[in-house]
């Protein structure tokens, strides 16, 4: 092929390519738009979408959070704060628990760090406020009365901590404690 013929072919392909482009956009003109009309049309979000945070309860309806501070430590923007306390039965709990949603970036790290599945993110993302101070949520605002995504999990059944649930050694997958004062096997 001579150079001129090659050039002619490349011009031809260029023109057909442009023509195809125009045809494509023209065809789109008669298609139904795929936009979701948001406030009217709300899509069901996946259960693991990350938005407003809740504190869940175990299957018996007791608070799951043991105030271990792990979520607060892992939070990249330090928006979780709490004060731990202990009940007479040996269970730890948060005396107060506060999340400042004005700072939260909904990264989900707190949920990943939590050993008790207490703190969980929910798909409810519509939380805009005029007053930023109303975005500071206290424990009462955060607590819900269900187990969230991990409904069956009960931390104290596995924890190895003596509570009213039973002494040490009585938990699931736990062997009785070793008597350190004896050498007997």
């Amino acid at each position: 092929m001579t150079e001129i013929q090659q050039k002619n072919i490349s011009i031809l392909t260029a023109i057909t390519a442009i023509g195809q482009g125009f045809a494509t956009t023209f065809k789109h003109l008669f298609r139904k738009p795929i936009t979701e009309q948001y406030p009217e049309e709300k899509r069901e979000l996946p259960a693991r979408s990350r938005a407003r945070i809740v504190l869940t309860r175990d299957p018996d309806g007791r608070e799951r959070c043991v105030a271990c501070y792990l979520c607060s430590a892992v939070c990249p923007v330090s928006c979780i704060s709490m004060q731990s306390a202990e009940k007479p039965d040996g269970r730890r709990y948060a005396a107060w628990f506060r999340i400042n949603f004005g700072r939260c970036i909904y990264c989900g790290l707190c949920e990943e760090a939590c050993p008790t599945s207490a703190i969980q993110l929910t798909p409810d993302f519509e939380n805009c406020r005029r007053d930023i101070l109303t975005l500071v949520y206290e424990k009462e605002d955060l607590q819900v009365d269900h187990g969230g995504k991990d409904a069956a999990y009960n931390f104290y059944e596995y924890a190895g901590v003596a509570t009213d649930e039973g002494p040490k050694g009585s938990h699931e997958k736990e062997s009785p404690p070793v008597n350190v004062r004896s050498n007997m096997p």
Binding site: G21, F22, T24, T25, F26, H28, R31, P33, I34, Q37
Partner: protein, 330 residues
């Protein structure tokens, strides 16, 4: 004396009408562009303000006017303030020579349906479009920002290059019509529109006109992904609005000029002349929106190569061929 006064009043009335129509159309052209562009991309476009988003231009206008007019501290104040007006004014003034109908006869007086029938109308248009470059270049320079400056320089280079092709592409039209006056050019097309005899000229004119108005695929002066917003990066509020109005009035002017030079202006069957001009203008504007929705932006070297190596030579050859044909036929 009375004749003089009535002529004056008439001029003002025409002025007001054309200006009102142009600005109104500019506002709704923005709406049409957003809507059509959205449909080309399978979206809805504005649909919140009023039915089909028809009140969107009004909402935009209110927003623009009430926004703060920010002048950068390091900007060259007076030039910065003046540049947007240059862009808008030159675009609006171009419409002064576009005829939108045959002359009317009211109360024995002949009223030409054009603001002013300059015998060098075409040169007037070129002069104004060259002046428009100043708005872009000075606006970019006066902002004292790198992005704006680069945008302004690109704008100047692009518009000067394509002005040449624009001018040359219209020489055959002038040769055919034998006049620089837009009224005469339209009258010369009463039989057939020039697009039939000058398709090459039409193509060159249309491409360079799009480049003149800085539309995609020729929007290098405001290339968003490289320059922020190019020459109007630093502008806000109604001054930005003026750039915007200038751009959309320019689209209408180009539509009108394309109609005048190649599509027979206001000539057309059945409908009144004014409506025909409007229909042609809007049709051209819609085609430009379609082009915007389809083509990607050119690279800078491609832009220059297209202007200097393709459009200018093609229009020069076209002039020679047209001249030869006119010589042989006439």
């Amino acid at each position: 004396m009375t004749l003089w006064i009535s002529g004056y009043i008439l001029l003002l009335v025409k002025f007001g009408l054309v200006l009102g129509c142009l600005l109104f159309l500019a506002a709704y052209l923005v709406w049409a562009e957003r809507k059509l562009l959205a449909r080309l991309q399978i979206r809805y476009g504005p649909n919140r303000a009023g039915k089909f988003g028809l009140l969107q231009p009004i909402a935009d206008a209110v927003k623009m006017i009430t926004k703060e007019d920010i002048i950068p501290a390091e900007a060259d104040q007076s030039i910065f303030l003046l540049a947007p007006t240059v862009v808008a004014a030159t675009a609006l003034l171009m419409f002064a020579v576009v005829p939108f109908g045959e002359s009317l006869a009211i109360m024995g007086q002949r009223i030409p349906l054009v603001i002013t029938d300059l015998n060098v109308g075409l040169l007037f248009i070129f002069a104004l479009s060259s002046l428009g470059v100043y708005g872009v270049a000075l606006g970019g320079w006066a902002s004292n920002s790198k992005y704006s400056l680069l945008g302004g320089i690109r704008g100047a280079a692009q518009m000067i290059s394509y002005e040449l092709a624009l001018g040359l592409s219209l020489v055959p039209v002038v040769m055919l019509a034998g006049s620089f006056s837009l009224v005469d050019i339209v009258n010369a097309q009463s039989g057939y529109p020039y697009i039939l005899v000058q398709p090459v000229s039409f193509a060159v004119f249309f491409i360079s006109a799009m480049a003149e108005s800085k539309r995609i695929p020729f929007d290098l002066p405001e290339a968003e992904n490289e320059l922020g917003a190019g020459y109007h990066t630093e502008y806000s509020g109604m001054r930005f609005g003026l750039f915007f109005i200038g751009e959309y009035v320019h689209i209408q002017v180009l539509g009108a000029l394309t109609a005048v030079f190649f599509l027979g202006g206001w000539h057309g069957p059945f409908l009144p002349p004014f409506v025909w001009l409007l229909v042609k203008m809007i049709f051209i504007a819609l085609v430009m929106i379609w082009i915007r929705g389809t083509l990607p932006r050119l690279r800078y070297d491609q832009l220059m190569a297209l202007g200097w190596k393709v459009l200018v030579p093609v229009s020069l050859v076209n002039i020679i061929v047209t001249g030869a044909v006119i010589l042989m036929v006439g």
